[in-house]
């Protein structure tokens, strides 16, 4: 237990309910219903347990976290536990009164998602008419209050060409930071991969735009960029420092996962905060220990010097594309399954318009 580091971050999916229905939603295909959501006092206790474990940052997410009526109480409880509280929201449901309550509760930072640069594109992606306009007015309310704001731009085939305007909008809305995240293909996004996967030309262009903005001394916006990993030669590092190394994810019903996409790992039993203390889950549970260290690694990872960097890549991606969660991430050039990723890319280059499936909100 001694060489397992303490976690830094907790992503709390307060609810899977959401007025939007983005086709790349990171929620699992099987969602938790409203009636099964943890009540306020259990979340508050979990936040205190997380802080004493070493967690510094709490990300309140969903679904749409504003769909929880007790959101200000949850923020206050997290602050009382000593956590830095970040709200990840679509903005829908944040009225002036609720924002005042959240501010009074000590909310540290808001991460507002933008689905597109205008009503036509954003509302089509979010599947919610009038959403863009509401979002713009919420951005104004956040700026008025001086709350720290990050714009979270989720990019894919149909909006990646709007990246320059996206960055410009982040500046106009008073954000200090923009997170440009290309859709990663799990769950809903994997279902909709054909419609969402950008072309190589689009990705190269986006990289050039980001590099130019970062190099501009007049650019004050902090730009974080997550390119789509299918085009890379090596996989992204799992959770930064490997499975069960930096953070945990709690689903609305209290199920604790090493990452948000891990719901697909039906061979693992994920513990629940209602039946096991968080400390025991982090250090002792079979699910969190499953892919820690490198004993579980097959070749070519086992003897690869890069394993200290990427830890063999993403377990969820390995499972989704090869059927084996312990396989080398197929994005890796050394993976015997890289051809599967190349085939998906080739399919993407030749695809024309594809329809997508919207996620559905649980009741």
């Amino acid at each position: 237990m001694s060489d397992i580091p303490a976690p830094f971050a907790l992503l709390a999916e307060l609810t899977h309910r959401c007025p939007l229905s983005c086709p790349y939603c990171s929620n699992p295909l099987e969602m938790v219903r409203g009636a099964q959501e943890l009540p306020t006092e259990i979340w508050a206790d979990v936040f205190a347990q997380a802080a004493s474990l070493g967690v510094l940052q709490l990300h309140l997410s969903g679904g749409e976290p504003a769909a929880r009526r007790d959101l200000p109480e949850l923020v206050a409880a997290a602050r009382a536990a000593g956590l830095y509280v970040n709200l990840i929201t679509s903005g829908i449901g944040l009225t002036p009164a609720r924002l005042d309550a959240l501010e009074a509760a000590g909310l540290d930072h808001v991460q507002l998602s933008l689905q597109g640069v205008n009503a036509q594109s954003a509302d089509k992606i979010g599947g919610y008419k009038g959403g863009f306009e509401r979002k713009m007015s919420v951005a104004g309310l956040i700026a008025e209050r001086g709350l720290a704001l990050t714009i979270n731009a989720v990019m894919h085939r149909t909006n990646l060409d709007d990246l320059p305007r996206m960055i410009e909008m982040a500046r106009e809305l008073g954000a200090r930071r923009i997170e440009i995240a290309c859709v990663q293909f799990y769950g809903w996004a994997l279902k909709n991969r054909a419609a969402l996967q950008p072309s190589r030309a689009q990705v190269d262009q986006a990289k050039a735009i980001v590099a130019a903005a970062r190099a501009d001394p007049a650019e004050r916006l902090v730009i974080d960029f997550v390119p789509p990993d299918y085009y890379a030669d090596y996989p992204k590092a799992c959770m930064g420092g490997g499975w069960g190394s930096t953070g945990l994810n709690i689903a609305p019903d209290g199920t604790v996962l090493p990452c948000h996409a891990a719901q697909t790992m039906t061979h693992l039993q994920f513990p629940n905060v209602q039946t096991m203390p968080l400390r025991e889950i982090w250090y002792g549970s079979a699910a969190f220990n499953a892919y820690r260290g490198d004993d579980w690694m097959p070749e070519p990872c086992r003897s690869c010097p890069r394993k200290a960097v990427d830890h063999g890549g993403c377990r969820c991606q390995a499972l989704a594309l090869t059927g084996d969660a312990a396989a080398t991430d197929p994005v890796c050039r050394k993976s015997p399954d890289r051809a599967k990723v190349d085939a998906l890319l080739a399919e993407g280059e030749s695809a024309t318009e594809a329809e997508w499936t919207y996620r559905m909100s649980p009741v």
């Binding site: 510094l56 830095y84 970040n86 540290d108 930072h109 001086g146 720290a148 200090r176 930071r177 902090v222």
Partner: protein, 87 residues
């Protein structure tokens, strides 16, 4: 004269599990060493970089000429990452 301040959304946190100070900001947690802790603990929105450097030089009985560049570079780097505002 430049006065450093921590903007909203950035704060200094006392990490009692890791036994150190951490600068917390949007998607950032910077574990601070002794010098970073001393500099950021002196950031109060009133004192200028020059005053902070002078205070630290005195406190650690170090020459101001040696302390000043450390303080300036550290704060300039944080300002570039928007974890500090220089007003």
């Amino acid at each position: 004269m430049s006065v450093p301040v921590l903007p909203r959304g950035v704060r200094l946190h006392d990490d009692r599990v890791r036994n150190c100070k951490v600068l917390l900001g949007p998607e950032r947690a910077l574990i601070l060493d002794e010098s970073g802790t001393a500099i950021l603990s002196a950031v109060d929105g009133a004192r200028s970089i020059e005053q902070i450097a002078a205070d630290l030089a005195q406190r650690y009985s170090a020459p101001l000429e040696a302390v000043r560049p450390d303080v300036t570079n550290f704060l300039a780097d944080l300002a570039k990452r928007r974890l500090v505002d220089l007003v």
